[in-house]
């Protein structure tokens, strides 16, 4: 039992954590925040242009500045979409993936300001505003992902450290067998204690925590110490040692289960925004194309 317990007691490997830490910092502030500053300057320039330029009839998407901002925003969206190709181009060497990601994040944030300037803050129940709403959903989900990545990556490193989901499950399964091994020739009260406390007699078949319960951190049930103590008191003296050992094994299994579900929760938080980010961004491209088409038909 001790040997099993030692196997799952992982501590974050300092070297790994440091490497992740540096990745996390540099993807947002790659090369001293080059892309942050470039996009900030671009946004400030566009805002200044918007304020300085007073077109006849007031600002709108159809003025010279409006067209300029619209063109810039369209180019920006196409560049952001290109990241989906770039991140799969493993042999690209002209740019670093980290630099592209940094540009991707900050350009996306910048667009959420540039596009309203393009439309002169005119919004309505039409497909033009739909394109903006879709873009904001994409940006918001991207920001959610970026925040999760910066906040959760160190936790992932601490939690995993080699303890993959499969290994954790395997260890839980081994503990379950040890527990089952203890039940031979035990009293009924011993079995009652086990059935009450062991939340996953066979983790591979009986335990169904579910992704959403993992996200809500309700996948592993909690027990009151007094209840367990009462059940332990009912166990005959002959089975006492075995019962204490079983409770300890189950407690160990709970720790493993909590670690596993927390890993699942963190990994899910790191990925789940992509299920919004990617489909909506593709829909956005079509919405923008229709927006441009309709505007120029009626222009």
């Amino acid at each position: 039992m001790n040997g099993v317990a030692q196997n799952v007691e992982h501590k974050p490997e300092r070297a790994n954590a440091t490497r992740l830490e540096s990745v996390r910092e540099t993807f947002l502030f790659y090369k001293n925040g080059r892309w942050f500053w470039i996009n900030l300057c671009a946004v400030l320039l566009f805002i200044a242009l918007y304020i300085a330029f007073e077109p006849v009839g007031g600002n709108n998407g159809g003025t010279a500045v409006g067209y300029g901002l619209g063109g810039a925003a369209t180019a920006g969206i196409l560049y952001l979409m290109w990241y989906g190709i770039r991140k799969r181009s493993y042999h690209a060497s002209a740019t670093t993936l980290q630099g592209c990601l940094s540009a991707h994040v900050w350009l996306g944030v910048a667009l959420s300001i540039i596009v309203p300037l393009h439309s002169a803050f005119q919004f309505g129940a039409n497909i033009h505003t739909l394109a903006y709403v879709l873009m904001m959903i994409v940006v918001a989900s991207g920001v959610f992902g970026a925040i999760n990545y910066t906040n959760l990556a160190p936790l992932i490193a601490a939690h995993r450290g080699g303890g993959h989901t499969q290994q954790l499950l395997e260890q839980m399964e081994r503990l379950s067998r040890e527990i089952a091994n203890l039940t031979h020739d035990r009293s009924d009260s011993f079995i009652v204690l086990m059935k009450r406390y062991d939340f996953a007699p066979n983790p591979l078949t009986d335990w169904q925590p579910g992704l959403w319960r993992c996200l809500r951190r309700t996948a592993v049930p909690t027990f009151s110490a007094s209840e367990i103590t009462n059940l332990l008191a009912n166990v005959p003296i002959a089975d006492n040692d075995a019962a204490v050992k079983m409770v300890a094994l189950i407690a160990r299994k709970r720790e493993l289960a909590i670690r596993l579900t927390e890993d699942v929760r963190l990994l899910t938080m790191l990925k789940i925004w992509l299920w919004v980010h990617v489909p909506v961004s593709l829909a956005l491209v079509f919405a923008v194309a229709l927006h441009i088409l309709i505007v120029f038909i009626y222009r």
Binding site: G57, G58, I127, R177, N181, L204, A283, F286, I294, Y298
Partner: protein, 582 residues
């Protein structure tokens, strides 16, 4: 004697014990087939360890330079003794040591490894936690999103094409419709003639031909034709960029779907884009360049305008206090003569009967104290005088006694007397005419010239043979009083009623009250306007653009001269046609 006890713990928790006795000393452990205890697995060396014991019952173990080593009670050892209760670990395999009666027992527990099915189950279980297993694929979601967008934005608006029952096409509307067109917002074809068409000028004229955009200078509608602005009568149409054939459309300037402000643009940039260098747009233009309000040229080209009107008016005399009025002393103000039109923008013309007659009599003879000549054409005046003196002569003749009264049958004497009387009346009328036109009433205000007494054409309505005798010897030079001084701008006097007249007109060159000459126009200078009107927001100032004073479309401007009194010629024309004259 060494006894090996191997307990295998099955997956279902049952235990299976296998016992093996080895009567050798020493006992060799390892993977090699020559070993006494064969340990399978790559965690062991070929010859891993050797256990030997002495007759005295001392057991020792020796590591044979194995890869994964040998440990006793958790400590790696090269060669050591061990005893009852110790844990000896060879590679990854642990043995519990039991020594009883010089007999060594090594007990080990081995967990049954998972079978292939269980491994698959484990992998499946692990993968069940992944996001991808719990959500639809991103690819499917992407297609759903694309289809929804295309359906809503590309197809949904087609539902009402041709029917207009449900304005689903508003999904394509590029912005808020102006309040002016809100009533036809859902009816796209009111402006867009056909599906997917831009707004044509014809669409605008469907409604706006009746408005000021379709008016000529005379105020008449140009039905179905180009408006005044586009017909070339506006100064703006002289330059090619604004002409009807230049490609500029109504919608080009009057942008819809941008709220109410954009529909009627009022930005000064609209004007200065051309007027900063107007000759570049129209080489024949004589207009001064205007780049901004701050550099706007002075009114009348910066020169002092002169009143070219042929009427004599001395403001100084009229502005004196306690003038001798018809009903006693009277002091005139500006508003005594200059009265605003109901639209409050410009002034009504000066009217003699209303503004002058109470003081300036058109009387001509002290014997006829209450009789004044009409304020009409000189011929009418003379004929009135002749009629008045003839009436006076007739009245006097009725006072003669019976001896001198004409009797029937005395025709010759009657003719002579009539001739004498006619001559006398004519002389009196001419004398009064001369007095009026050269010294008193008419001469006081009007420029007078000798009349052209050549026979008038028949169409004028008078018989040629009696023209000279009944016509005036004088003519009045037409006054030509300017009704609008700033013909290219609209000045709203009503909007400036909080200001006194003198604040703009009073101190230009000299005070109006000091002005003695008709030529003194006393028009304000632009500097006075700039005291209040500015281009950028400032406390106490009024932000103004070009359209504050200037209309873009010519029809918005006031008429440049007063309309002629058209009633008389039209009446004469009607009478002439009635009596058969041509």
């Amino acid at each position: 004697m060494l006894k090996l006890l191997r307990t295998t713990i099955r997956l279902n928790g049952t235990r299976e014990l296998v016992s093996e006795a080895i009567a050798k000393n020493p006992v060799l452990f390892g993977r090699g087939s020559g070993c006494d205890v064969i340990l399978s697995g790559d965690g062991f060396s070929l010859n891993h360890a050797r256990i030997s014991y002495s007759a005295a019952g001392v057991f020792s173990i020796e590591d044979l330079n194995s890869l994964s080593g040998v440990s006793v009670n958790g400590r790696l050892v090269k060669s050591t003794q061990f005893t009852h209760g110790d844990t000896v670990k060879i590679g990854s395999l642990s043995f519990q040591v039991g020594i009883e009666n010089h007999e060594l027992t090594l007990a080990s527990e081995v967990y049954e490894t998972l079978k292939t099915e269980s491994q698959v189950l484990l992998k499946e279980k692990a993968s069940a936690f992944s996001v991808a297993k719990n959500l639809p694929s991103i690819r499917v979601l992407s297609w759903i999103g694309i289809i929804l967008v295309v359906a809503f934005a590309g197809l949904f608006p087609f539902l009402d094409v041709g029917t207009g029952a449900v304005p689903t096409r508003l999904a394509w509307s590029s912005g808020q419709i102006s309040s002016h067109h809100k009533g036809i917002e859902a009816n796209c074809v009111a402006c867009h003639d056909e599906n997917f068409s831009k707004v044509s000028d014809n669409s605008c004229k469907q409604c706006h031909a009746m408005s000021e955009h379709g008016l000529t200078d005379a105020g008449l509608e140009v039905s179905g034709a180009q408006s005044n602005y586009h017909a070339g009568k506006s100064p703006h149409t002289k330059s090619a960029p604004h002409s009807a054939n230049s490609g500029h459309t109504c919608a080009g300037c009057h942008q819809e779907h941008n709220g109410s402000e954009a529909l009627v643009p009022s930005s000064s940039a609209l004007c200065t884009s051309c007027h900063t260098n107007i000759t570049a747009e129209d080489p024949k233009s004589t207009l001064l360049n205007v780049a901004s309000w701050d550099t706007h040229p002075g009114f009348f080209g910066g020169k002092e305008p002169k009143d070219s009107g042929n009427i004599k008016l001395n403001h100084k005399v009229h502005m004196q206090r306690n003038l001798r009025g018809a009903n006693g002393p009277e002091s005139l103000t500006c508003a005594s003569c200059h009265k605003l039109k109901p639209d409050l923008k410009s002034f009504l013309p000066i009217d003699r009967e209303e503004h002058c007659a109470s003081c300036h009599s058109l009387g001509f003879d002290e014997e006829l104290p209450n009789v004044e000549v009409p304020h009409e054409e000189p011929d009418t005046v003379y004929q009135f005088l002749f009629a008045q003196y003839a009436q006076l002569q007739l009245r006097d003749s009725t006072k003669t006694n019976a001896a001198t009264r004409n009797r029937p049958g005395n025709a010759e004497l009657d003719l002579k007397a009539r001739e004498f009387t006619r001559t006398a009346v004519t002389n009196l009328a001419r004398a009064a005419e001369r007095e009026l036109f050269t010294r008193t009433a008419c001469k006081l205000c009007h420029e007078i010239a000798a009349a052209d007494l050549s026979p008038k054409p028949l169409s004028s309505g008078d018989a040629a043979d009696n023209t000279q005798a009944e016509r005036s010897l004088y003519k009045v030079i037409s006054p030509e009083i300017p009704a609008v001084w700033m013909k290219k701008a609209v000045f709203n006097h009503g909007a400036h009623q909080t200001q006194s007249c003198e604040s703009c007109h009073g101190s230009v060159v000299k005070s109006v009250a000091e002005s003695e000459l008709t030529a003194d126009a006393n028009m304000p200078k632009i500097d006075g306007c700039k005291n209040c009107h500015v281009t950028h927001a400032s406390v106490g100032k009024i932000v103004s653009d070009c359209t504050q004073c200037h209309g873009y479309h010519e029809s918005l401007a006031l008429p440049s001269t007063l309309p002629p009194k058209a009633a008389q010629p039209e009446l004469f024309s009607m009478i002439s046609s009635f009596v058969g004259l041509k």
